[in-house]
């Protein structure tokens, strides 16, 4: 059980590392947020599951479950708020982008 917990925790930390690498490599704020949000969510969830499996006697499984639910519910909300704020502030998408429907609609006044 302790070994399983350790492996899951290790997987979580690898996911978090890949997320950090993604934030470093991606070309603009939106793509960075993509890498950041997904990796931190799954990484933290795996990390918490690993901890709860590795310490079966801690009596903390309920708390860890609540933590996971809150992370799943709030992490995407924060990244949505950041992405929205970035777009409203006029931060441009990378040159490699193919389209920006939101910008087009804001200019034509359709997205009001």
């Amino acid at each position: 059980m302790e070994l399983t917990g350790s492996i899951i925790t290790l997987t979580g930390s690898i996911v978090l590392f890949l997320g950090a690498l993604g934030i470093f490599r991606m070309p603009d704020v939106y793509n960075r947020m993509q890498a950041g949000t997904k990796a931190t969510t799954l990484g933290t969830v795996l990390f918490l599951i690993g901890v709860s499996l590795g310490h079966p006697g801690c009596g903390c499984q309920g708390k860890i479950f609540i933590l996971i639910v809150f992370i799943l519910a709030t992490n995407p909300v924060s990244s949505n708020a950041l992405a929205r704020a970035a777009h409203t502030a006029g931060i441009k998408l990378t040159d490699r982008s193919v389209k920006d429907d939101l910008k087009d609609d804001t200019e034509t006044g359709e997205a009001k």
């Binding site: 995407p76 389209k99 939101l102």
Partner: protein, 164 residues
Amino acid sequence: MRKAKSAFLGVIILFAIWVMLTDTSRQELIFGGATALLIAALFHSRLTVLGDIRLNPKSLLYMVIYVFVFLWELLKSNIDVALRVINPRLPINPGIVKVKTSLKSPLGRAVLANSITLTPGTLTVEMKNDYFYIHWIDVTSDDIEGATKAIVSHFEKYLETIFG
């Protein structure tokens, strides 16, 4: 009816959180239950958003299925983004696309927006009327219908039953 359902769900959720946070001795259970009832009674007019959840067998079954669908998508999205990040050529084709949702309930839309953010290569940026604006890391479809089908349809099937 709707208010009663909201209050009922509020009590259940609060009590579940309390049980998970504390021991299960009898005193604690009684105190937690009483507090949950009190909070739900005081704030039932603010809890109406919970009334969007439908409580029938089909909807409860879909909730359970949805959790697994969602976790599977979360896993896939991490592998997807990780592969793009490791690839030296950084194969991305990003853009912001517009999709249409048929969900009416605010809670259902919030869950949908959250789910979109955590699924492969998509990030909800803005929500206006019936449209979501979504940053897509690999744009494969140019029009609203195609993007809607690719991004939201497989979630909406379940959320429509759960939230209406």
